[in-house]
């Protein structure tokens, strides 16, 4: 189950990566070029931003998953503790 949760996070991160690229090419690049920046630099900046935001998504996602796993384990421990007492 954890696999699929990680997959979802990864997929969303990928979507963010591409989305940043699209928005950058359409809106930011013309403005940057009007500021005399070279296309090469713009593309490099774009990739850095895109990767950055994607990684951010992954980090946040993994954190949420870890928290969730801990909560589940605490629940299980609580239940088996009760079972022990019931014996």
């Amino acid at each position: 189950m954890v696999f699929w949760q990680l997959w979802e996070v990864g997929f969303q991160a990928f979507m963010i990566f591409i989305g940043v690229g699209i928005i950058w090419l359409r809106f930011l690049e013309p403005w940057l070029i009007s500021l005399q920046m070279s296309q090469q630099t713009s593309v490099t900046l774009m990739i850095i931003t895109a990767v950055g935001l994607a990684v951010l998504r992954i980090v946040l996602g993994v954190r949420t998953i870890r928290k969730q796993q801990k909560a589940v384990q605490a629940q299980l421990a609580g239940l088996s503790g009760q079972a022990q007492e019931a014996k």
Binding site: M1, W4, W7, E8
Partner: protein, 285 residues
Amino acid sequence: MLERKSTPFEILRYGIILIVLLWTVFPIVWLILTSLKPANDIMVSPPRFFFTPTLENYAYAIGKANFAMFIVNTLVVSLASTFIVVILASLAAYSFARYNVGQGNILFFILTTKMMPAIAVVLPFFLIFRDIGRTPVGEALGIGLDTRAALIISYTIFNLPFAIWLMVSFFQDISRELEESARLNGYNRLQVLQKVVLPLAAPGIAVTAIFCLIFSWNEFLFAYILTRDAARTITVGVESFFTLRGILWGPVAAAATISVVPMLIFVLVLQRYMVRGLTFGAVRG
């Protein structure tokens, strides 16, 4: 108000329903009428409602344009692809419904492929089939451009996602207890599937098959791009009456009627099941 039973309301209600029905059915009726009209009665203003029917348009269509072959092609391709789809999709849908493989992610992937426009997919398919058709394996198996096999494969791929999606809700509605008691009685999983689940899911499978058949019969783009002469289907054949001299509406109507009427009859006979199928995802799911 819409459900009150007082007479003036009832007259209004049925009146509106009648108008809606007329509007819905009339283009089809006019199509069939036009196909039976002699050419002089078609390009006429104001439109003529009374005429002496003739079969000359049908004769033209079947005679001049090799329409009989189109009909055979459409039949073969639709039936074959529907058969394959139903088998593959039942297995997969059962798996998704019972075991939830992939936690919805695989199903998500399948559904997104359903949302792609056909145009985007057609050209790569064209190239694939062209290349396969040039290999010895392809020629031996009869796969390639302008072959029925190419259409069968294409329609199978085309209909699989929809079929799986439709059947998952049907399988989910089958009570687990029945399967579990079968397993307790010693049946293995495959036998449970075969003897318990499939018979119960038969109506759902039938509905899916009906829809797939209709989609395959009515499909246009893939048939248009992937075939030329040998494997052409009815839906594309209708356009062949658009000549440089102008559109021959008589034969067009005849061809269109041939394309449309079989499915109309099919649907009217099986109407009850179709509505069930249409609403299953919506109402129960």
